[in-house]
């Protein structure tokens, strides 16, 4: 990465706002396009209001092979030449910038709202809608196909099961899906905007509920950011307990996902067992802190609840038994040829597409890409203890399921190892006020993939901006691509193999 005009940074190491290079839009574009072509990935790209009439667009590039991040900014007014044309990874980010700030990325091939709300800057709207106009979700142009026997299927926001709301449009020819378009925003609660001016007594709760199945993941990212900004060192014991909670979150969700995948192909034994075993993992999190989703466990400065030797022993004993049961339940799947046949070659995502879109998490690893924050940008305990990255090859439903299974095995081993050598000492230190005009990027490998938080402070040491990039933000387009040329009846299976967050995306 040769450009001098990029600020080098690391996971959870703050930088001064004034040190971020401000470059022209053409240099900005050129730098991002070149670096992404050379293997960097766009971890975040967002607008932040600067002067009343200018918007700064800030990019965070992640270069996993070196464990480094690069930050650069530019200034735009009403419009600028879209990056997406030359850098597809930017496509969803640019739609977000357009929607939030009323700036048009000219030439964007697919410029539509992603959350369906009014622009944050009064009087500016990327689609020239009046401030008084009622904005309704999914009221936009959908990509359409015409021709004989071509038909469109629209599903959602209310789906058949107990799942989050989203709208899906399929362009089909018979059973065959030519294209799927996903329209979200139903869960939009205004998280990022509410963070501004904080931290306050609600901030932690926003973090724990912005994607409620990832409470530990997002809360850890937030705490890492806070601790990095204030310069407090979290005790080793707290780091280990956080990692244990993060892996338990992964275990519960991966187990639930494998069960649900089995359910989607009608193989009920694994579905039933895993549904129950997922709950057993959630109960281990409840053993830590009283709440099955880990609410109230992680807080800035450390963790709130300790684990004494006796409790650690109970946890170890229970996790061993649950793991045995999960092995029994999951082995059934791999030994049932009709299940494996349904998983194989379904929803296949080529590795190149995955690279081009900058996907993260198990979806990326299933395509053979070694992308894992715990390995590339480790923080906390992961700097000392490594979890081998689990990858697949085929990029299909099978690979996404199998990567989860590998990760279950490795997370269990990791937790067992960590609890055997739990460091002594306190579990929490106090944190102080935030310093003014700093920026920090905090990365955590949640169970869905890379969680990226970017916190910026103002002159008074309050949050001037708080950006959250849930892994789903990167990956929804991956699901859309995986559906191409599939049977529409395979949608539930493909969807579950990604299992993305609606609220984590909608914020």
């Amino acid at each position: 990465m040769e450009s001098k005009r990029l600020l080098r940074a690391y996971n959870s190491c703050p930088v001064g706002l004034r040190d971020i290079p401000l470059v022209s839009i053409s240099e900005f574009r050129e730098t991002l396009i070149r670096n992404v072509a050379q293997g960097a990935r766009l971890a975040a790209l967002f607008g932040r209001p600067h002067e009343p009439n200018t918007l700064r667009v800030l990019a965070v590039l992640a270069r996993g092979s070196e464990g480094t991040l690069f930050i650069v900014e530019t200034e735009v007014s009403d419009c600028y030449p879209a990056l997406t044309v030359d850098c597809p990874q930017a496509h969803w980010f640019e739609r977000e910038v357009a929607e939030q700030w009323g700036v048009r990325p000219e030439g964007h091939p697919w410029l539509k709202p992603i959350r369906f709300h009014h622009s944050y800057r009064l009087g500016r709207d990327a689609w020239a809608r009046a401030a008084t106009e009622v904005i309704q979700p999914s009221m936009t142009d959908f990509f359409q196909m015409a021709g004989e026997e071509v038909h469109e299927v629209a599903v959602g926001p209310v789906h058949a099961g107990i799942i989050e709301p989203g709208h899906f449009r399929f362009q089909c020819h018979g059973e065959n899906v030519y294209h799927l378009e996903i329209s979200l925003g139903y869960q939009h609660r205004g998280v990022e905007r509410a963070m501004i001016g904080g931290p306050n007594h609600r901030s932690a709760h926003y973090m724990e509920t912005l994607a409620g199945d990832t409470s530990i993941g997002h809360m850890t990212a937030y705490c890492q950011a806070m601790e990095a900004l204030t310069g407090y060192t979290v005790p080793g014991r707290a780091h280990v307990l956080r990692a244990v909670a993060l892996e338990l979150e992964r275990l519960a969700n991966h187990t639930g996902d494998i069960g649900a995948l089995a359910g989607d192909v009608g193989y009920l034994p694994t579905a039933a067992h895993c549904g129950r075993l997922r709950g057993d993992f959630l109960n281990l999190t409840a053993l830590l802190c009283g709440n099955r989703f880990g609410r109230g466990f992680v807080r800035p400065g450390g963790v709130v609840f300790d684990l004494d030797t006796n409790q650690a022993g109970i946890l170890l004993d229970r996790i061993g038994r649950i793991y045995q049961n999960v092995t029994t339940a999951v082995d059934l799947l791999w030994k049932t040829p009709s299940v494996v046949a349904r998983f194989e070659k379904t929803g296949r995502l080529p590795r190149e597409t995955c690279e081009e879109l900058g996907l993260v998490g198990p979806a990326a690893r299933a395509c053979g890409i070694e992308r894992d924050v715990r390995y590339e940008f480790p923080s906390g305990t992961y700097t000392l203890s490594h979890i081998p990255v689990a990858t697949g090859e085929t990029g299909d439903v099978f690979a996404r399921a199998y990567v989860r299974w590998l990760e279950i095995q490795r997370s269990v081993a990791f937790i067992q190892e960590q609890l055997e050598m739990l460091p002594c000492g306190p579990i929490r230190v106090g944190t102080g006020d935030l310093p003014p005009e700093r920026l920090v990027v905090s990365l955590v490998e949640g169970w869905r993939g890379e969680i990226c938080h970017v916190a910026l402070t103002d002159a008074q040491g309050h949050f001037a901006h708080y950006k959250v990039v849930d892994p789903s933000f990167h990956n929804w387009m991956g699901l859309a691509m995986a559906l191409r040329d599939q049977q529409i009846s395979d949608f539930p299976l493909c969807n579950k193999s990604f299992n993305l967050s609606y609220c984590g995306h909608d914020l």
Binding site: V158, A211, G212, G275, G279, L287
Partner: protein
Amino acid sequence: MLKELVARWKLGYGTIPFPAKEPILPDRYRGCPVVDAARCPGQCRVCAEVCPTGAVKVSADGLHLDLGRCLFCGECETACPVNAIRFSREYRMSARRRQDLVLSGTGMATAQALDAQMKRPLGRALRLRQVNAGGCNACEADTNVLTTVVFDLGRFGIQFVASPRHADGILVTGPVTENMKPALIKTYEAVPTPKIVIAVGACAIAGGPYAGHKEVHDGVESILPVDLYIPGCPPHPIVILDGLLRLLGCIGK
């Protein structure tokens, strides 16, 4: 088939004996808070200050805790210097009336069964359509878990159905975002009358962590009449199950 049977034998029977026996809850479980208003001298108000959602109020007539707003974070318990608020292990805390959720130290009136007029069309079964109107997927997950073998909701005659037209009511989670309001109303309208509405979680009752945001409507009540409130963030599955069974008159008679 043999391997499935062997696995079933290895994994054993997994359904809990609730409500015949008391449920096993985690040691650190934060259940229904107990308000001991007599202990509160009424001056410091630290509990009200630390509460993220304004659930705790100290006024001239004493200390009040609104379970409907409570996130069960326990901050007030930690902050109170005289232990006037304590989180108990009580899981029976759903209510039929909103005001019953406001605790002032005089005990709580838990949910009563539906009246005869509503029960007749229901018989002994309850079919619900779940609507997530901005929920974070934790309330949804712990509702969904009731359908697993652990809770085996079906044995009580309760079932989640795909179509609102097949439902006796809706179970709503989330603060009702502006973007989900139309879908929520349409789903409700599609349910044949008489119908019931169940609000699960702090969000659905009063907006939860998102109360006051302009993107949300601070709970279902602002839009639809609510028949049962189940507090928590999220409520433990047992809390939800207990609420549903009370509504049907299976327990708490």
